[in-house]
Amino acid sequence: MTHLSRRSVLGSAAAVASTFAVVKARAADPIKFGASLSLTGRFSDSAKYVQEGYLLWAEQVNAKGGIKGRPVEVVIYDDESKPDTGRVLAERLLDRDNVLAILGPYSSPITDAMATALERAQVPMIGTIASDSSIWARRRLRWTFQGFPSSDFDHEGFLKVIKEKGQGSKKLAIIFEEAPFSIAAKDWALPVAKEMGLTVEAFGYNPGAQDFRSIIERMIASGTEMVSMGGYYQPSIALTRQMIERGFNPVAFHFIQAADGVTKEALGAQVEGVFGRSSWEATIDTPANKAFVAAYQAKYGRIPSYHSAAAFAAGQAFQGAIEEKGADRAGIREALASSKIETVLGTFHTNQRGQQDGYHYASTQWQGGTSYVVSGPSARAPLWPKPKWS
């Protein structure tokens, strides 16, 4: 359990590095990118991984001579996980730091808040960790693009596994948080599941909920066989623990955050057989991805999380756009809106609303203490049914 000390040491190291990158601004007319990240507050932990990804990307680009011969610089501020601060920082990055484009913040509400300012100023942004595609559904954003697999497809991988492996299990429960991304994912999954011939029930819960016991009783009462939880990490863990405590053993259990390494710490041996979904895996066998993982490990001494990979990919997408259309905002926008750009997450491509449709989630499952990809070619066979809680 070195989790804590390791994390905090690295956190401060990253903070130093970001200051350094600002100070080190080279004379040779750098291309400046700005980012507002939630280094404190609710999202601080994951935001630090994003920061690491941005910094690594800038370092790598500069080591190879920059983009079209110009070095890259990333200016990062802390938005304290607050959208209002994000708005001020957007202006600060544009005005004081003269950045060319914005690398996205951590959470969806802050992405949305900054997007409003950027629509006015006509500055491109990639929503790095913005899996929540409702930001683009609720209004037309011309300058902000989704740089992460869309949350609409959160349950997709699990449904595919059921289709292949279901073996007659019919009763599915989808649990969703009363938050836009989770509702959208549920709304996407319900008709698909019905078409598969499943009986589906959906249970909503209040954001911040700790107590899922009543939902569990309802699932037991209605004879639920399979559970797919579409909420955040913390409620997912709470739900899992309460299912274990109640002795409720579904045939298959999926929660969208399950592939995170910390899940194993939280659940111990009980994690066996739990399905998850993954936007990115360190094991993906492409030269670009291998190079990224190796570089990250060399710099930070551990396997990168998907946050860092997505951050790195956002940098790559900008790089591709600039290489294609030049270092001006309108050009970048055009490239992000129409081109296909290869990144460590896959092929960056957006639909007409700016939503990501190039990246996809893979389905994962914990087997023998490791989270493996269990969908697609060359994947491991899923474990079905899930072993009972021990």
Partner: protein, 290 residues
């Protein structure tokens, strides 16, 4: 609804209610005796949760031992804060005292956020397994929480109702001037009440860490419910707060089952406003003069 289901929901609600009761008991104690709405109470819950997390993961100590450790730590920190900060605002207008604990809450939240980041933590050490009684299933962790809450809660109520110190606290809650005139050491009694209440909060934090996840806002979220319960129980009434906590825990288990937890909360708040309007001294309270 079948009878086994009824019993199961009742048990589930009891676990949630018992934990809430321990937190609310502290809030009510501080409000009754020290006349302070302790907005920082949640941060002390968080303190207990993180302290337990640290001793469990760093020192490999059982989380069960973490509960008394958290209590002692909380009592010490509470005594320090009461002596050094809160007592300074004694006798000042309500707004000032309120803001002192509120500022403490912000400071605590800030410290936890920067020291531990927003991470959700948890540990798998400690009791695990299931206990079955007839048709009712309860996890050993939840059972632990229930038992500890019972012991701690009854213990605290006995101290307050049956001992001379408890008598001093109850007297102080009724009239400050009279208590002083009776030779009751008012600052010391307030210190004791504050330390005891914060100790309870930290112990509750240790219990939260056992059945939930640990993060900087864990206590903050819980204490809002505790405030609801304290109002429903008649502000400052310890017994009222405990009863209201258990009642709310159970009622929420059933309303969450029948509707969902959002509606359960909405109904709770509606009940709260109705109580303020119709029975400002609590659901069970009589009018108790100043």
């Amino acid at each position: 609804m079948t009878f086994p289901l009824f019993l199961q929901l009742l048990t589930n609600g009891l676990v949630v209610g018992a934990l809430l009761a321990i937190v609310a008991l502290g809030v009510a104690l501080i409000f009754g005796v020290v006349r302070v709405v302790n907005f920082a109470h949640g941060e002390f819950v968080t303190l207990g949760a993180f302290a337990t997390y640290l001793v469990v993961t760093q020192l490999n100590i059982s989380p069960l031992l973490g509960i008394p450790l958290a209590f002692v730590l909380g009592a010490a920190v509470g005594a320090g804060i009461q002596a050094a900060i809160v007592s300074r605002a004694a006798g000042r207008p309500e707004l000032d005292v309120l803001m002192v604990t509120y500022a403490l809450s912000i400071i605590g939240l800030g410290i936890f956020s920067s020291a531990f980041s927003g991470d959700f933590r948890s540990y798998s050490e400690g009791p695990s397994g299931i206990f079955t009684l007839g048709s009712v299933v309860i996890g050993l962790r939840s059972l632990t929480v229930l038992l500890v809450c019972l012991i701690v809660g009854v213990g605290t109520i006995l101290v307050v109702q049956r001992t001379r110190i408890g008598l001093a606290l109850r007297a102080l809650a009724q009239s400050r001037d009279s208590a002083a005139a009776c030779g009751i050491n008012v600052p010391a009694a307030e210190l004791f009440a504050f330390a005891l209440a914060v100790g309870l909060a930290a112990a509750a934090g240790a219990l939260v860490s056992l059945i939930g996840t640990i993060h900087p806002r864990v206590g903050h979220d819980l204490v809002l419910d505790a405030f609801v319960v304290v109002v429903l129980g008649g502000m400052g009434s310890i017994g009222g707060a405990v009863l209201a906590a258990i009642a709310i825990g159970i009622v929420n288990a059933f309303t969450s089952f029948a509707l969902d937890d959002s509606w359960a909360r909405i109904l709770t708040y509606c009940l709260l406003y109705a109580t303020l309007l119709l029975r400002p001294h609590g659901l069970l309270g009589r009018h108790v003069g100043a």
